[in-house]
């Protein structure tokens, strides 16, 4: 293995990793503003890209007109999820909340399958298929653009959590009851976080499906999103970005070498191993807040 191959694996890995961060950002957003671990993020990514395609087909408009419509729809859907599913679960044990998000995951996945069918379709958003040459290293344009969008979103959210509304969301995450008592509308805050997260999921869905097409495998991005979110710390946006890059490089390089030994398909194993090791060594992640438990 020469150094150029290593470099190519690493740089492509970092770019793919930033696209994982797009999925992870949604999870982090919800966790940071309502302490709910969202296992439905993968299904929301998938649903978002199906909705984009659905609008493009129904109204017979270009993809670029369908995307804003889909973003609005998903925003409303996020508010709806909070209203219907999560409002009554506030304060319940975490297993109920996890199971609820898993139920949402199954529901969204099978609903979009039964409406649009399981065949994979392309999503053409005008990213050229030509490789980008960086010296001797080949890069994929779609990954470069995805990574760029991830960085832009990161900047927006860092700014957002410094605004008044962002601080409100952080207060809600800290303690529901205390937020209620100082007059914060917890329900609205949680709804807002779900809505933003659904929008981010749609953006991630569009970018990912421009790489691999729109089908059910989009929802399996959940494992990678969760791994990135945990590695970076579940309530740290910067952590999600850095962990995305780290995981991408690690996954790309490790599976690049491992695949030759075990005969392919080692990507998921590398990701799962990263998740377990992270949790065993440093459960709160790289930059997450270490909660102290009271009896």
């Amino acid at each position: 293995m020469d150094i150029i191959m290593l470099g190519e694996l690493a740089i492509n890995g970092a770019l793919i990793g930033l696209m994982y961060s797009l999925v992870a950002l949604g999870i982090v957003l919800i966790y940071k503003s309502s302490s709910v671990p969202n296992l439905a993020q993968g299904a929301m990514v998938m649903l978002g890209s199906y909705v984009v395609l659905g609008y493009a087909n129904i109204f017979n408009i270009g993809i670029w007109y369908a995307i804003p419509l889909a973003l609005i729809t998903m925003f409303l859907l996020g508010i709806g999820i909070e209203r219907v599913a999560l409002r009554r679960l506030a304060g319940r044990p975490i297993i109920m909340i996890l199971m609820m998000t898993l139920g949402l995951d199954i529901f969204f996945r099978s609903i979009s399958m039964s409406i649009w069918g399981g065949t994979s379709r392309p999503m053409k958003i005008g990213i050229s298929d030509d490789p980008l040459f960086l010296g001797p290293i080949l890069l994929n344009w779609a990954y470069v653009i995805g990574a760029g969008v991830a960085l832009i979103l990161f900047g927006i959210f860092v700014f957002f959590f410094r605004t008044r509304r962002g601080i409100v969301l952080r207060a809600i995450s800290d303690d529901y009851t205390a937020s209620w008592s100082v007059g914060i509308s917890v329900e609205r805050g949680v709804a807002l976080s779900w809505a933003i997260s659904a929008v981010v999921a749609t953006i991630a869905g569009v970018l990912w499906s421009s790489v691999q097409g729109v089908d059910q495998s989009l929802s399996s991005l959940l494992l990678k999103g969760v791994t990135v979110a945990v590695l970076g710390g579940l309530d740290s946006i910067g952590g999600a970005v850095l962990a995305g890059i780290l995981l991408g490089i690690f996954e790309g390089v490790a599976s690049g070498y491992l695949d030759a030994i075990v005969g392919g398909g080692s990507r998921d194993l590398v990701v799962a191993a990263t998740l377990i090791i992270t949790i065993l060594i440093r459960p709160h992640g790289l930059f997450g807040r270490h909660d102290i438990e009271r009896i």
Partner: protein, 357 residues
């Protein structure tokens, strides 16, 4: 009137500790036991082999999962992997020449041994992080099972289960398989009923409520977490092996994938956390519902004259299954077991109910 408590006096401690102090409960349980014994001669062979047999095996697995989630309060997102370990171990042991009964036990012990690995995650973390790490372990197990040819015979392979010899007697046909499943389910149920009133069960419950507080009053919480994981993995491993030997008759990696883990969790949630009768209800509900829903939607499509595509029809049961989880969590978080208890509580005093406010 039916559940009459008058005349039930506890004059000895042993009477106070019986499973079913109320006579009607005893009658109902005996009737159910009798029915389950004569079921092969009452129900059609189709109903026996496609509904009753898998229901009993899944129920035993759900009881095992309920032990670790409902009693010990620890998450387990990788229960299907544990079942898979048991199934593959016992098939390989049996093919190697070890008698069937012993290979079942061996499968259970192997599952228990590896399942304790899940508990070491529980040593450091709990709650959400434990859930995620068991989820990751499930993915890892999936990968190992499907990618190591020595275990599964390759990614696409199916592993035929050898014929079942119980004490040298060839067991064949669904009736004998049904009795195996019934026997295992009864063993697990009796174990769980006993667990409820033993010191082990109480220790597990104290760990569930708050492990630090349990440690303060002298319950070694990590030790009990290990026991919970080991026991439930043993039950899961043997259930997985019995599932393969009596129902599927061949093992493929997909039978123990992450979706099955989630399905088992759904059975526990729908049935009710920590409820034994709820485990029976939950398993039945999740097993039977998709087929019934499929028939219902096909019938609806024909009656409404709105043709649904095959693909749509095949995914609707899943959508209903997801929405069932959501609806149960919203309306009755403690599941069908709690609904049964509500009904029973109502009947305990019927017709002289308390004054409604």
């Amino acid at each position: 009137m039916f559940f009459r408590q008058a005349g039930v006096y506890h004059t000895k401690y042993a009477e106070d500790r019986t499973f079913f102090p109320i006579p009607v409960d005893r009658w109902m349980v005996s009737a159910l036991l009798l029915l389950s014994l004569i079921a092969p001669f009452v129900f059609s062979s189709l109903a026996l082999s496609t509904y009753l047999l898998p229901w009993l095996v899944w129920t035993s697995a759900v009881l095992g999962l309920n032990l670790v989630i409902g009693w010990a309060g620890q998450f387990h997102f990788g229960y299907a992997a544990v079942m898979g370990i048991g199934a593959y171990t016992s098939i390989h042991a049996n093919r190697f020449g070890i008698p069937w009964e012993l290979s079942l036990l061996l499968g259970g012990c192997m599952a228990s041994f590896i399942g304790v690995g899940f508990a070491f995650a529980a040593l450091r973390v709990k709650g959400l992080y434990l859930a995620l790490s068991t989820l990751a372990l499930q993915f890892g197990m999936d990968w190992v099972i499907s990618h190591v040819p020595a275990i599964s015979g390759g990614t696409q392979a199916t592993l035929q289960a050898p014929p079942v010899y119980l004490f040298g007697q060839l067991l064949d046909g669904e009736i004998s398989f049904y009795y195996i499943a019934l026997a295992w389910c009864l063993i697990v149920t009796i174990f769980m009923l006993n667990l409820k009133r033993s010191s082990l069960g109480r220790a597990l419950i104290s760990v569930r409520e708050k492990d630090f507080a349990a440690a303060v009053i002298g319950v070694h919480s990590f030790y009990y977490k290990l026991i919970a994981f080991a026991t439930s993995s043993f039950i899961g491993g043997v259930s997985g092996a019995i599932l393969i030997f009596t129902f599927y008759r061949a093992a493929t990696p997909e039978q123990f994938s992450i979706n099955i883990s989630i399905e088992l969790l759904a059975m526990v949630i729908v049935g009710g956390l920590g409820s034994i009768i709820g485990s029976f209800f939950g398993a039945a509900f999740i097993l039977l519902m998709p087929g019934q829903m499929n028939n219902f939607f096909a019938w609806l499509a024909v009656t409404l004259n709105a043709p649904l595509g095959i693909e749509t029809l095949s995914h609707i049961p899943n959508a209903v299954y997801g929405s069932m989880i959501i609806i149960f969590l919203l309306i009755e978080p403690m599941g069908l077991g709690k609904l049964y208890n509500n009904l029973r509580d109502y009947l305990l005093v019927w017709p002289f109910g308390y004054q409604q406010k």
